[in-house]
């Protein structure tokens, strides 16, 4: 309880500028950390770790929804994707864990490299990709037939993973999602019995339980109150030690608060494109593209 209070207290005292400074300093620290911690894939260069989109296009039937997106998600960073509605942010996000192909008539082009390997390479096990690249949806979607505890651990069963200690994992994931204190006494209650914000944090805990390398979040706070939103943002900041986070948001302050890098998408009638990507502080203080500036200062979109 008290840590929440402090977090909310901080919000009042620290100006956006302070957040931005914090955001600026983050990449340097974390990129050092990433060099130190990511030497897991033997043979591959250190630069090959992380997630990388190369020339990604996406179609729904004949409709070209997304064109030529090149974007790097280095280890240890949070990247925010911003842009007006319908510009292809969700579509892009879903190409990163191969959920795009779930839609009938969908097609794509380009490469998405995870630890240096293209996830669309023929013969790739899609379920393994989705296990490594987790996802949190815009609408909270806990499994209605399962309890809170079962929801958190559902990924292990779905992917048929083995764990030595489920209770520890359960507690750890709920802690990381900032939900433990609220549900520790009713782990056997149904997931649907939680409030919307709690359900969303339950979905985050569920996504964390399978230990993903990347977590994609599509407007995870759009249906939440400011308190839950701040908790989730706090969670995201803590995640960067082990997870690459990509978060779609319509909230500029949120992008400024949580992300190290920001990508701005725009569709001018045609397919959506990545207009500009830069460290978050730069996007908000001195964007290179006039359209980015117009958007972040609220002049359109």
């Amino acid at each position: 309880m008290s840590d929440v209070m402090e977090f909310e207290g901080n919000k009042d005292n620290i100006s956006t500028k302070a957040y931005l400074e914090e955001a600026v300093s983050q990449p340097e620290i974390s990129s050092l950390a990433s060099v130190a911690s990511h030497h897991s894939a033997p043979g591959s260069q250190p630069l090959g770790t992380g997630l990388e989109a190369r020339g990604v296009h996406a179609w729904f039937g004949k409709h070209h929804a997304l064109a030529d997106v090149n974007l790097d998600f280095p280890a240890g960073t949070v990247t925010a994707l911003i842009g007006p509605s319908g510009c292809g942010k969700s579509t892009f996000l879903r190409t990163l864990n191969r959920m795009h192909e779930f839609i009938p008539g969908a097609a794509m082009a380009g490469e998405v490299l995870l630890d240096g390997k293209d996830i669309y390479e023929p013969g790739t096990d899609v379920t393994k990709i989705r296990l490594k690249v987790g996802m949190v949806f815009q609408k909270p979607n806990p499994f209605p037939s399962m309890t809170i505890a079962e929801n958190v651990l559902s990924g292990l069963k779905l992917a048929q993973l083995k764990t030595t200690n489920k209770d520890d994992l359960l507690e750890e994931c709920l802690h990381r999602a900032g939900l433990w204190n609220e549900v520790k006494d009713r782990l056997k209650a149904h997931g649907g019995s939680l409030s919307g914000g709690q359900q969303q944090r339950l979905c985050i805990a569920r996504a964390l339980a399978v230990k993903p390398e990347v977590l994609l979040m599509d407007e995870p706070c759009s249906a939440l109150d400011p308190g839950s939103t701040l908790k989730i943002e706090e969670t995201v900041r803590q995640l960067i030690e082990s997870v690459i986070v990509v978060i779609v948001t319509h909230n500029m302050q949120q992008a400024a608060r949580v992300s190290d890098y920001t990508g701005f998408f725009l569709s001018d009638g045609g397919p959506g494109q990545l207009i500009e990507t830069a460290p978050t502080s730069e996007i908000f203080s001195r964007p290179k593209d006039p359209r980015t500036e117009a958007y972040v200062t609220g002049r359109f979109g």
């Binding site: 959920m99 949806f137 979607n141 209605p144 037939s145 559902s154």
Partner: protein
Amino acid sequence: MSAQVPELEVRDFSSVSPQKPWKLSPREVAINASTILIALILSPIIVQVTPLKGKLGLVLTFILVAMVGNIVLSFLRQGVQAIGNSIASTFIYLAAGLVLLPVASIFFTVIMRGYHAVRINTFTQDMSVTQSDGPYTEGGALHAILGTLMLVLIASLISVPIGILTALYLTEVKGRAEGTIRFLVQAMSGVPSIVAGLFIYSVLIVGAGGHYSGFAGALSLSILMLPTVARTAEEVLKLIPRDLREAGVALGGTQWRTVVMVVVPAARSGIVTAIILGVARVAGETAPLLLTILGSTTTHLNPTDAPISALPLYTFNLLRTGLNVAIDRAWTGALVLMILVLILFVLARLASGRKK
């Protein structure tokens, strides 16, 4: 930090009591009741002075008068706009009452005519040594009860898995044959029950030289049960939001594991409804059984080699004798069948509601 948060003031709310201001006041209830009362008094008078005669006339007049009273009342209270609402709600209540009427009267008739032939031996003896017009204290429906249970069990074992898998094909796999399969299932649900019996009779009993048997009967019932289970399960599975399927797949589950762990459990109570509707469809079927199990007076538990009995057939055969005692036994058979189906439904609901 938390010291800055002011304590919530303790206030006493005991003077406020919960109320329901949207409920009708006693005065309004009395006015409503008085229109019904007026209708009750008026309708016999109207029946007396007009050519309308008989019970039916009385009931119709009563409904009409009550309706008019209701409409006038709502006009006086709320003006012209309320009339449409009042007419609609009157018809809705009327329709609900009309649905209840035959159901209640069937239950009432079966219970009244069926109960006095019920003895302990109804459930413990068969008719192998008893004449159908023998005393109530001899013979019973045991063979028919066991026969019906056997038929329903085997038919369910065949059509529930196939029906649910068909529904999963239509909603989850969405394969190339989706349209064709859906059309065939719909066509199958239109097959008359006697045709299902005739089909099994000609293929299995005449064609393949098989026996009249429980298995043949269960097969003919499966033909009727399968489309009901498949179509209801399909409708239920369609209601499960796509979000859940996406969430399951996004967690690294295969489609099959997502279906088994997420989609089907979320639809569990609906799938049980599908099974119940399927059982309800076939438990009382008589026509296909005439051609497949033939009927019997002895208890026979092997479903493969000889004719057996079932409650609908037991009822039918006893009614045809025209003997008073036998007809009483037939009504008892109908009563037992209804209770049996009821018990199956309750068991199914309990099983679906319980946590694993």
